[in-house]
């Protein structure tokens, strides 16, 4: 095995180009809030502008085919892009990178018609459109298939009714470009075979947006109501009643099955660094043996997260045999680590970890954001749901053949 990354001359040249683009467009100061809920409307609009600029260069969705609006770039280039944009985001200088729309492509890619691919993918993969993923309902959380939203065909439109919650991430005063909305189209059909997926134009009459007031959620979240919304029939993605497959393809992308080559959890490294440099009673916080051990335990989990990303990447490249549960495993690890991290911050920093004061908030508010997020482990599926998915992939509780079928 060789864990070293070797960069070719061409990659280094490309890195210079990327880094010049970033320096030209990024904020000069670290002013992007770690908690996106606090992002201003103006900053969000600028971030979207940056997404489109990236899209023009083929860098918004670099690995996707050029013909559909992606960058058509090879792995070598994608790695450099990921590294450089990770750096500037972590410096709190880059408000762009609203990749949520590029993961919406999963369903279209796997279930959409050629016409749909040509129509929608360029909008999504170039950063032009920004949409809300409207999957969760008040009575359908983890059990997404029990959704109550309906879509009834009426000539060349579908009439949509329903209530979706905890969706989107956009400041107040702005609207998305579309709503990615699954709804029941055949109430008599069995579960999973009764749903269709739509890309509803977000400005149709009958749509109401209600901002939610949450403790934390990776951005301003919304409740969206559809009341007799007449959605053009050509906004149906894939075939009627095959919407379950569409949404599952999106979730597979969201859960990180492809692996990643990201550096260690930077927030952990920032905290370690802070504890080394910050004195209490004339001694670094990190000199307390209990604190030292807690910090090393956090460091180990950060290492695990990094190495599993590398592992999944090696699997996606065919270097090592594929294990079915490894995508979900990363997601589960992130979700289980978050509360551990949050608790450790309380042990290490005391009440200071709760403060969001512009002057006293630790690490520009990164720390308090982590404490908030410690109780928000459900986004993209609760850890328990991840466990169920992992169990199925391991063939537990049902026959191995059934497990295969579920995960095809």
């Amino acid at each position: 095995m060789d864990f070293e990354f070797y960069y070719t001359k061409e990659q280094e040249e490309f890195r210079k180009e990327v880094s010049a683009f970033i320096e030209e467009n990024a904020y000069k100061e670290p002013i992007v809030p770690p908690d996106p809920v606090q992002m201003s409307k103006e900053m969000f609009i600028y971030g979207r502008e940056l997404d489109r600029k990236m899209g023009k260069k083929g860098w918004f969705a670099p690995a996707y085919p050029k013909q559909y609006g992606g960058g058509g770039l090879d792995l070598d280039h994608c790695i450099i892009l990921a590294e450089e944009f990770a750096k500037v985001s972590e410096q709190h200088r880059w408000p762009g990178g609203h990749e949520v729309s590029s993961i919406h492509t999963g369903g279209i890619m796997s279930q959409g018609t050629e016409e749909q691919k040509r129509k929608f993918l360029p909008k999504l993969l170039s950063g032009e459109w920004f949409g809300f993923q409207c999957f969760t309902e008040p009575d359908a959380g983890s059990d997404e298939a029990s959704m109550k939203s309906t879509a009834v065909r009426d000539g060349d439109v579908y009439v949509i009714n329903g209530d979706k919650v905890f969706v989107g991430q956009q400041p107040e005063g702005l609207r998305p470009d579309y709503l990615y909305w699954p709804a029941v189209t055949d109430p008599k059909a069995p579960r999973h075979q009764n749903i269709s997926a739509f890309f509803i134009p977000a400005d149709l009459p009958g749509i109401t947006y209600i901002p939610l007031n949450l403790i934390a959620a990776e951005g301003q979240k919304w409740e969206v109501l559809c009341e007799d919304v007449r959605c053009p029939a050509d906004r149906l993605i894939g075939e009627e009643n095959k919407g379950w497959l569409v949404t599952q393809a999106t979730l597979a992308l969201e859960h990180g099955g492809g692996g990643s080559l990201t550096p260690r959890n930077k927030r952990v490294l920032h905290v370690i660094d802070y504890c080394k440099k910050t004195l209490r009673n004339g001694k670094p916080i990190s000199s307390n043996p209990m604190v030292r051990d807690l910090l090393v335990q956090l460091y180990i989990e950060a290492e695990v997260g990094r190495l599993w990303g590398v592992r999944n990447f090696a699997m996606s490249q065919g270097q090592i045999p594929r294990i079915r549960y490894t995508g979900t495993q990363i997601s589960l690890h992130r979700k289980r680590f978050s509360p551990v991290f949050g608790k450790a911050l309380m042990d290490i920093l005391g009440p200071a970890c709760l403060i969001d004061d512009p002057e006293l908030g630790i690490l520009l508010g990164e720390v308090v954001n982590e404490v908030r997020m410690a109780d928000v482990t459900h986004i993209g599926g609760t850890p328990e749901v991840q466990q169920i998915m992992m169990s199925r992939a391991m063939g537990l509780g049902r026959s191995a053949t059934r497990a295969e079928a579920v995960h095809k």
Binding site: Y299, Q329, Q387, I388
Partner: protein, 380 residues
């Protein structure tokens, strides 16, 4: 970056697995565990003949000069089968000490015999003041003519019961720096005044207590420089710790596999117990522990193999040993949760694994010790 195994490694993995399936099923492990010596001379001879014992040592001294990553593949398979024997003590710990610090004469005399399994050596380091730091070394060695006289007790020594010779870590000088004044002595097991008894208990391999009662050792038996023995241990400890991590990864894999199989076949309340989410949670815990240990260890093997800066190697190895010790222990415990009654019955193999996990947990430093080392190394 390429995480694939080389063709040679794939072959080594398969042949090792096949051999151990044939020669070391769990019933053999049980026999060894039940035996007085905790040792199978036959398995030791056969694996020596296959070259496993000498794999880490250079060809010039009768070994095979294999890379650490190749050895990682071998030791992982050993761990799958829970192969018992002095595979850490003799070639890795003692072999590397002699290779790194011995005189040419000592190397020529000892290494070929270690490599072909004819001589078994054990390292006597820990004492009643248990620990893996230099301040825990009290056993005294004082000069007397051309000899040194050793007095003191070594405790929890692995493989001493079957060793021909012991490398004893002794204090030859008291100093404000505890690492200064430590010397390594090669001691014949039959020396006068030296006694050895294995300590009864719930142990995965024999742990011995050795009493040194005015044991006279010729000064020529010093390995490396007098008073400078602690630094001579660094590399051997590093190599052995990372390969022990590989062994534990293999054992974790076996525990996961056997537990998945059991959960799929054991029926209660009319369904396989794997259908119960509590049971699933335990097994997912095992998969998480296994994969943590596997990849932290894999990167550490690579760092040692490619001879990264020493601090980087030490950090990686300490991460590996701390995580692998935790993982092995937790995988064992979680297996017990799933197996319940069957798991504690000696008619089934699980107890051999969980007992081994508890024994290797602190060997060469427990997780707290290694996390402390990591803290030092990352400047906390």
């Amino acid at each position: 970056m390429d995480l694939s195994l080389t063709e040679t490694q794939e072959m080594l993995k398969n042949t090792t697995r096949d051999f151990l399936k044939q020669e070391c099923p769990w019933t053999v492990v049980k026999e060894v565990d039940d035996s007085k010596t905790g040792f199978s001379a036959e398995l030791w001879r056969k694996t020596s003949e296959l070259g496993w014992v000498g794999m880490s040592l250079p060809e010039a001294y009768g070994g095979m000069g294999s890379s650490i990553q190749d050895l990682g593949v071998l030791y992982e398979e050993m761990g799958q089968a829970l192969l018992p024997g002095p595979y850490f003590s003799s070639p890795l710990l003692c072999g590397s000490i002699i290779l790194e610090s011995g005189t040419e004469e000592q190397k020529k005399k000892l290494l070929p015999a270690i490599a072909d399994g004819k001589q078994i050596l054990a390292l006597a380091l820990t004492e009643p003041d248990y620990g893996w730091e230099p301040e825990c070394i009290h056993l005294s060695a004082t000069a007397k003519g051309s000899n040194f006289v050793l007095n003191g007790t070594k405790r929890f020594i692995h493989d001493a019961q079957i060793a021909d010779q012991i490398i004893c870590v002794a204090r030859t000088k008291k100093s404000s720096n505890p690492a200064d004044g430590i010397t390594l002595f090669l001691v014949d097991k039959k020396s006068r005044g030296l006694s050895c008894r294995d300590l009864p208990g719930f142990v995965g391999e024999k742990l011995n207590e050795m009493t040194f009662n005015s044991v006279e050792v010729p000064a020529a038996n010093i390995i490396g420089k007098k008073d400078n023995g602690w630094s001579a241990l660094a590399k051997p400890m590093r190599i052995t710790s990372v390969l022990m991590s590989s062994y534990m990864v293999g054992a974790c894999q076996h525990l996961l596999d056997m537990t998945v199989e059991y959960a799929q076949t054991r029926v209660q309340f009319g369904q396989p117990i794997g259908a119960f989410q509590w049971v699933q949670g335990y097994i997912i815990g095992q998969a998480n522990h296994l994969e943590k240990a596997r990849w932290i260890t894999a990167e550490a093997l690579w760092k040692v193999d490619t001879n990264k800066p020493q601090a980087e190697q030490d950090e990686a190895v300490s991460l590996a040993k701390s995580v692998a010790s935790e993982s092995f222990h937790e995988c064992g415990h979680l297996s017990h949760e799933v197996h319940a009654g069957v798991g504690v019955d000696k008619k089934f193999p699980l107890y051999l694994y969980s007992k081994k996990a508890k024994t290797l947990y602190s060997y060469l430093g427990d997780p707290i010790y290694h996390r402390k080392r990591v803290a030092d190394l990352i400047g906390l």
